[in-house]
């Protein structure tokens, strides 16, 4: 990989322009809740090396912080120590800080120009929270947005409980090893992303997954409905500052799940709605439900190619666009379930499978922990 400093300085920043990307995605979940290191997910995404171009890679791990599972784990990029100071002043005013330290990383030649990376385990200050008149989650989201929007050079890229996002500029396998995911962390579920942007400022915050509390999204595609979705979702207080598909899809899912209280299946029928002609062939009850969802949320239909893996506490949902314009394969072996852009991303870590299939466009595949909880 060749970095040209001139490019870095003159190319527009993420959020200033919309950058189309091709990508690879992958996920592994142990439905029995058994923990695994990041080794397998790194191998899976590394197999699809050619689907990335070294300009972005990242992971999300669930169940990785059992000792601090009641705390919001904030991962931050700092451009400089001034931003760090300003952010920490803000954090102390709003949270009880249970732990704070620089992220453990291992230098490697493929990863360059990394920012200062910190991790904090936080809990909202009860009085501040009460005075804000917000529920706990909204309070945290508001704080995250405030840091990202107002503190120059600081970016919160992970903010969920008992989960963490690790990402940066580079090939995903290098990013994974840079963060020591194969040694330091064990989780019941991992998702991964390798990015192939058509141009990039090389900004670490622009890599994926995109996270919102414990929600994370890895996405491969370029949605054609972007501005229709963005302008709609921004009515409800979300601000799409990065101009990425991943960001807007995360907000759509958050809105439908958390605010509108839809089920995952219903969310899938909004985002990746069945064609009217398909709906007509369904049972009366399904027709009623799906027609209603399309009538009620027309502006949250996402068109254009995408395959996404949505991670949340206790599970994942894999979803393709309604025409299945991006490849995505699911597989199972015992309690372990796999999702990958290509079959090789699964076979590389598990050659013998009980079941392997390509979900149809718009058909969600949901894998959750058997006991329903995180632990």
């Amino acid at each position: 990989m060749y970095f040209n400093d001139l490019n870095l300085k003159t190319a527009p920043l993420e959020g200033e322009v919309k950058i189309p990307s091709g990508c690879a995605v992958s996920a592994i979940i142990d439905r029995a809740g058994n923990k695994m290191t990041g080794k397998k997910i790194i191998r899976s995404i590394a197999t699809m090396h050619d689907r990335s171009n070294g300009l972005g890679g990242g992971f999300a791990g669930y169940g990785i912080y059992p000792d601090y599972k009641e705390y919001y784990a904030f991962h931050l990029f700092y451009d400089n120590f001034h931003a760090k100071k300003e952010t920490e002043d803000f954090l102390i005013q709003h949270f009880e800080v249970a732990y704070s330290a620089e992220m453990k990383t291992r230098k490697n030649v493929s990863i360059q120009n990394e920012p200062v990376i910190y991790r904090y385990f936080l809990y909202p200050l009860s009085k501040r929270l009460a005075n804000s008149l917000l529920d706990e989650e909204r309070y945290v989201v508001k704080c995250v947005n405030k840091i990202n929007a107002e503190i120059n050079g600081a970016f919160v890229f992970s903010s969920g409980k008992n989960m963490g996002i690790f990402k940066g500029v580079g090939y995903p396998e290098d990013i994974g090893r840079f963060y020591l995911l194969d040694e330091e962390y064990e989780g019941y579920c991992w998702t991964a992303h390798g990015r192939y942007p058509t141009n990039t400022p090389g900004w670490w915050g622009g890599a994926h997954p995109f996270g919102l509390l414990d929600y994370s999204i890895v996405h491969n595609g370029e949605i054609s409905s972007y501005d229709a979705n963005r302008r709609y979702i921004e009515m409800f207080g979300y601000k799409c500052s990065l101009q990425t598909d991943t960001e807007v899809i995360t907000y759509i899912i958050d809105y439908l799940l958390r605010v509108k209280k839809l089920t995952l299946n219903e969310v899938a029928k909004v985002i990746s709605a069945s064609f009217w002609s398909t709906i007509e062939e369904k049972s009366d009850e399904e027709q009623r439900q799906e027609t209603f969802l399309r009538k009620a949320f027309p502006s949250l239909l996402v068109t254009g190619p995408f395959s996404i893996i949505f991670g949340f506490t206790g599970g994942i949902m894999a979803l393709n666009d309604r025409l299945k314009l991006r490849s995505m394969v699911c597989a199972e072996k015992g309690d372990i379930a796999y999702v990958s852009s290509e079959e090789c991303g699964i076979r590389a870590v598990e050659p013998e499978l009980d079941k392997i299939f390509s979900p149809a466009g718009g058909e969600p595949v949901i894998y959750t922990l058997k006991n329903g909880g995180a632990e």
Partner: protein, 502 residues
């Protein structure tokens, strides 16, 4: 008084081709053509010609053409011939000048300065011949709290919606301003297309109640033809607060167009000009509008959506926001180029703003206020092609109204003389011999063809953008770019200039 105005057009007849069949004479309601028994040739009084092209089209030997009269006043960049003629006409008559159809002046047409995107490489265009390409829209309020039954299933608690197979409806044109046959053609086409036509303020002829499920009935300031049964017969009810061609004034139907049937349908006297008031006299403010909306909803048992139609004027965004908060299910915005059967020329040519700007501002304002979901937006005045529809929807419209384009499909040649009531095409007239020229079956077929063609074109453009459902186009302004627009115009339209990337 002596007219100081030379004829605007010249009827040119090729005598070598003319067979003296006298068809032109019989076809011209303006009495331009006349057979001279003495000279044994057809003659023409160009003075009476409105350039409707009826004679040109029907002439079996193509012996006729209408040209602009080359006779010209001395050139003057300030005083155009049109302006001078209008002064002469007013000096002769002392009257307000009347015009028909939309504003023909040279103001910018923003649709023509907007270009549409297409997919290349990073995402695929979609082929509508091989993949589903959805153009169905549901119009109506979407802002409901989700409710579930005891089995956890979602309950469809949305207020009444209009389902359109294509996002194009026929806009308000009253029976009276246009003919019985024109109405029948529109009604039948709307039914076949799975869309709606609009009665305008002329009431609903008894014969057309059977098309009720594809009919939008209008309640305008004159309340012509409005009664409980009329409201109940329709799929939706439109309160007309204003019209793009004549913002700030009411309607005007010349007496000569008020026949027995029109009189009965409108519940007004025959042969006397029907002039509806400028305001609704029960609506002097926004809270009054709310009362009328709910009066209509009460009358129809909350079973039909209510549309409020306003002309695009300077403060249209704030007005629309008020309407959205007043119980309306849809807002119809009518741009300053919208058509009319009769309007004072000065008003038509000088009042109101372009639909593109009004639409962009209304959509944006409703989103800023978080109430875009409480109304659908219908844009009209003037939507001329499928490309205009695509652009309007990408700017933020849910659907479009077309009036002039529909009349063109029926044969109208835009001679802009509707107010004279002598439409040779059988559209804007009540004279039985003229009306008979418009065959409702053929007319309806032409309308169906037009909208079907547009549907295909809309699908092609959507597919090119990689969009396979019209919902994903709505308000998708990144798909649009302006050309030759200044920064203020781009800001108002909420689009970037061509050449600026995503």
């Amino acid at each position: 008084m002596q007219a100081y105005i030379p004829p605007e057009f010249e009827v040119v007849r090729d005598v070598r081709l003319c067979t003296n069949c006298r068809l032109c004479e019989r076809q011209c309601a303006n009495e331009v053509h006349k057979y001279s028994a003495e000279l044994k040739i057809m003659t023409a009084n160009s003075d009476k010609c409105v350039n409707c092209h009826r004679c040109v089209t029907v002439c079996p030997t193509h012996a006729l053409k209408i040209t602009k009269n080359p006779d010209a006043y001395r050139y003057n960049a300030n005083w155009s011939a049109q302006t001078m003629n209008e002064v002469y006409r007013q000096a002769e008559t002392g009257g307000v000048l009347l015009s028909s159809m939309g504003n023909p002046t040279q103001n910018p047409v923003y649709f023509d300065k907007i270009l549409v995107n297409a997919s290349q490489v990073t995402n695929p265009p979609i082929d509508p011949l091989r993949e589903p390409m959805e153009t169905v829209v549901y119009l109506g309020k979407k802002d409901v709290e989700l409710k579930r039954d005891i089995n956890g299933r979602l309950i469809d608690n949305l207020p009444p919606q209009l389902k359109l197979r294509v996002p194009v409806m026929f806009s308000a044109m009253s029976y009276g301003s246009i003919s019985y046959n024109a109405h029948e053609a529109l009604a039948r086409a709307a039914e076949e297309l799975g869309t709606f036509y609009n009665t305008g303020e002329g009431g609903l002829h008894r014969d057309f109640y059977k098309y009720g499920k594809n009919t939008i009935v209008q309640v305008a300031s004159g309340r012509f033809g409005v009664h409980a049964e009329y409201l109940s017969a329709a799929a939706a009810i439109e309160i007309k607060m204003g019209q793009g061609a004549k913002p700030g004034i009411g309607g005007h139907l010349p007496g000569m167009k008020i026949s027995d049937e029109v009189s009965k349908t409108r519940m007004i006297p025959k042969g006397i000009d029907a002039i509806s008031p400028a305001p609704h006299h029960d609506i002097y403010s926004i809270e009054d509008l709310r009362q009328l909306i709910y009066a209509i909803k009460e009358t129809t048992g909350y079973s039909k959506p209510v549309i409020v139609k306003v002309a695009a004027v300077h403060n249209v965004a704030a007005i629309a926001s008020g309407i959205a908060r007043s119980g309306a299910d849809m807002i119809a915005l009518d741009g300053f180029r919208g058509g009319t059967g009769a309007a004072p020329t000065r008003i038509r040519n000088n009042v109101g703003i372009p639909i593109e700007l009004a639409l962009a501002q209304v959509d944006e304002r409703l989103r800023q206020e978080g109430i875009r979901d409480s109304v659908s937006i219908i844009a009209g005045g003037s939507v001329r092609s499928s490309a205009d529809v695509v652009k309007a929807i990408a700017l933020g419209a849910d659907a479009c109204y077309i009036g002039t384009a529909a009349l063109l499909a029926l044969g109208c040649h835009l001679c802009r003389s509707c107010h004279t009531g002598k439409c040779n095409w059988g559209i804007a007239t009540q004279r039985e011999d003229l009306v008979a020229r418009l065959d409702p079956t053929e007319g309806s077929k032409r309308l169906v063809n037009l909208i079907t063609a547009w549907e295909h074109e809309i699908q092609e453009m959507m597919g090119g953008m990689g969009i396979n459902s019209i919902e994903a186009l709505k308000g998708n302004r990144l798909m649009l770019r302006g050309v030759g627009l200044n920064e203020t115009e781009l800001k108002i339209l909420g689009i970037r200039h061509a050449g600026e990337s995503m």
